[in-house]
């Protein structure tokens, strides 16, 4: 059985259709890539899955259970964590406190502050931020904030992790490090991951399967090399060749 299943999911904003009749499944243990130009509906799709937006049509199932229409905190407790594209650190709290909060709530719901801080420190070690644990989160660089975003999502103890452009704006060296980190985290925590990325190199390296969105519609799905050769994808990205 697939871990996450979308059937006919749609979302319109007034007259604009952001996501239209979307069918998609995510299997346990895979890394699925979502690609598409700006405005294709990728982030909207994440918001629909994570409960930040309600679908106007269709149904979403996680481990067989309907989750569409649930509040974000309920969805998170069931085991879906979302790392935002536009990072949202708790800037006034320390890096450690940021992650400890996630451990106290989320699907793990740790009751003791001390144990939550211990968990948080372990997660920070995994993402390479443990030397910044006591600093205010507002002092981190962009690359650091992206790592913090992942650390927080991870500390909620999810089964499914939604990563929204966590590589955007990073230098090539930082991208390589982040790729390795995501792969390591997936293995260590037995995660299933859906990633949105513009960095093609990252998608090619991470994903076994890609889904391509264009104007809210799925136009292609397949292995990375198939997608790269698909004429519909090339057309959506580069436009039609002149006759």
């Amino acid at each position: 059985m697939s871990l996450l299943e979308l059937k006919g999911v749609g979302r319109r904003f007034g007259g604009v259709v952001a996501v239209d009749a979307m069918d998609m499944t995510v299997d346990e243990g895979e890394i699925l890539g979502l690609m598409g130009a700006n405005g294709a509906g990728k982030t909207t799709l994440f918001a629909l899955i994570a409960g930040n937006l309600r679908p106007s049509a269709g149904e979403i199932r996680f481990r067989g259970r309907r989750i569409d229409g649930l509040r974000p905190d309920r969805v998170n407790r069931l085991g879906i964590a979302r790392a935002f594209q536009i990072v949202r650190p708790f800037a006034g709290l320390s890096v450690l406190e940021n992650v400890a909060v996630a451990s106290l709530f989320g699907a793990g719901r740790e009751r003791s502050i001390r144990r939550a801080e211990e968990n948080a420190f372990e997660v920070l070690e995994e993402v390479g931020l443990s030397d910044r644990a006591r600093d205010p989160a507002g002092t981190l660089t962009l690359a650091g904030r992206k790592r913090l975003e992942i650390a927080r999502a991870l500390a909620t103890r999810p089964r499914l992790l939604l990563l929204d452009e966590v590589m955007a704006g990073l230098t090539p060296v930082e991208v390589s490090e982040a790729l390795q980190m995501v792969l390591t985290l997936k293995e260590r925590h037995g995660l299933t991951i859906v990633v949105i990325e513009h960095v093609m190199r990252a998608l090619m390296r991470l994903c076994e399967r890609l889904v391509v969105l264009h104007h809210g519609v799925r136009i292609a799905e397949g292995a990375p090399d198939e997608i790269a050769a698909d004429p519909r994808v090339i057309e959506a990205y580069l436009g039609r060749a002149r006759e």
Binding site: N52, G92, E97
Partner: protein, 303 residues
Amino acid sequence: MAEHSRFLALLAVAVAAFALVPRLGGDYAIGVALNLLMWIALTQSWVVLSAMTGYVSLGHAVFFGAGAYAMVLCFGSLPFWLSVIVAGAATGLLALLVGYPCLRVRGPYFVILTFGLAELVKFVVINVEAALGQFGRLLFGGPGLAQIFYVVLVLAAVSVIVTWFVRRSRFGAGLRAIRENEEAAETLGIDVARYKVLAFALSAIVPGMVGAAMVLRTTYFEPLDLFNPITSFTIVSIAIIGGGDDVPGPVYGALFLVLMQELLWANWPEVYMILLGGLLVAFVLGVPDGIHGRVAAWRKARG
């Protein structure tokens, strides 16, 4: 745990010292100490909601006034201490009822909404009193000054304990996450609507009980005094002067404001309000993190 025992020991010493005031001091000393304790209790309660969640209430006078009104209604039929508890339960309930709709709006809208709510309740009470044919009520035969003092001392201690433990709890961690970024907090599994309403109710109980005790000090119930918006403004001023989202801020802020009031009032009564206003402006501009922030920075610098 060492942190908790040190805090409780310090609190016990402070409470014991205050408890001696009615035995050793005259009515003036009791009055000043009572004033100090009242502001500490009100501001600690405010901190649980506003400093921790960032939802700034400019209407906490509503709980003070509603508690006083509950006392007026119970007066003569219930014992003093029981009326104080009834007042706390009533204001907690009031906050639970209005909290859910109020806390749906953020930022300046919430500030104005709380201010408006306090004014609304004030005029409802005035009209109810008028309909009952009451224009100001005299409350004779209530407890003496010392008895009121001890009740407010207990309330101040309770408010300090509440702030201390909330600040160090899972609940408090959730509240502070809401302050920093509500959408992120929700996405990390925090039931933000429930947490905000709980914080609102928790911040309303002690102010209601303080209002209930303090109305007996003047032996006269006048809604315009007890729902006075100046009470709300003073709470926010003390919190800003004190700084932070923990126990020390309101204590420093209340000490500073009450001592300044006494000092300025005694020496320069004609320019008292001007000096006080100037000091507030200087604080907001020069010491945005408050006395607590300065003390913490100084301690850190000393190692």
